[in-house]
Subunit: 135 residues, 2 copies
Amino acid sequence: MTEQRELPPALRQELRFNDQGLLPAIAVQHDTGEVLMQAWMNAESLAETLASGRVCYWSRSRGRLWRKGESSGQTQRLVELRLDCDGDCLLLLVDQTGPACHTGRRSCFYRAWRDGGLVTLGEPLIDPERLYGDP
Amino acid sequence: MTEQRELPPALRQELRFNDQGLLPAIAVQHDTGEVLMQAWMNAESLAETLASGRVCYWSRSRGRLWRKGESSGQTQRLVELRLDCDGDCLLLLVDQTGPACHTGRRSCFYRAWRDGGLVTLGEPLIDPERLYGDP
C-alpha cells in the first residue's frame, strides 16, 4: 500500500489540471532528447513520481495509477520535471530502460505520414509477447 | 476564407480524437530535437496543416483555428507528422521561426522543478511586448 502523497504547494499552485484532474505528460530521454511517449498524470501520480524518482502515470483506461514498467519491466527514472508556460503540460526528462512503447519499440511515435501514407520507423527492440507474456 | 479541408481517410482512421474532437500535439524542432510546445489539434486544423505546410492548432481558449504565428509572426513550418502507437497523440517535427513561447522564449518548457523550487531556464529571445505589441 503506497502512502498517499501530496504535491509541494509551490508546484501545485503552478499547475492547471483539466476538468478530469489530469495533465498531459511528455516523456523525453534526458541525454538524447528522443520523444518517447505521451501519457497523463494526476496530482497523486506526479507526487509519487517526485517522491520515488520512478515515473508513475494515471491510466485513463484502467482508472488507476500506472507505474511505468510495472508489467513490462521497462521503467522510467525521472531525471527532471519541467512545466510549460501556462502550467497545463508536463515535460519529463527520463532515463528509459529499453523500449517505452508497448509494441517493443523505443518510442511510441514510430509512424510517420509521408507521401500520403503511414510509414513505420524502426523495429521492436523486444518482442512485445516477451514484454507482457507469462514469465 | 479558408476552404474546408478534410483529412485523408488513411490518416483519419488511425486517429482517436478525444470527446471534444481534439488530439494533443507536441511540437519539436526537427533538427535539434528541442521540445518547443504542446497544443491541441482538431481534424480541421490538422488537415489545414498538412495542406498548407504551416502548423495550425485549435485554440481551446478562443474556440477557433489558431495559425501559429498569426499574431506574433513566429510561425512553424511542418517538416513531418508522426503518430503514436494508439493514435491519440501527434508529434510535429517543425521548423520554428524564433520563439515558440508567448513569453518570447524558444520553448514553453522553461521551468524546471529543482530542489523543491521552480527554476527558470533561459531568457526571452524577444521581448513579448514586441511579439504582440502594436506594429
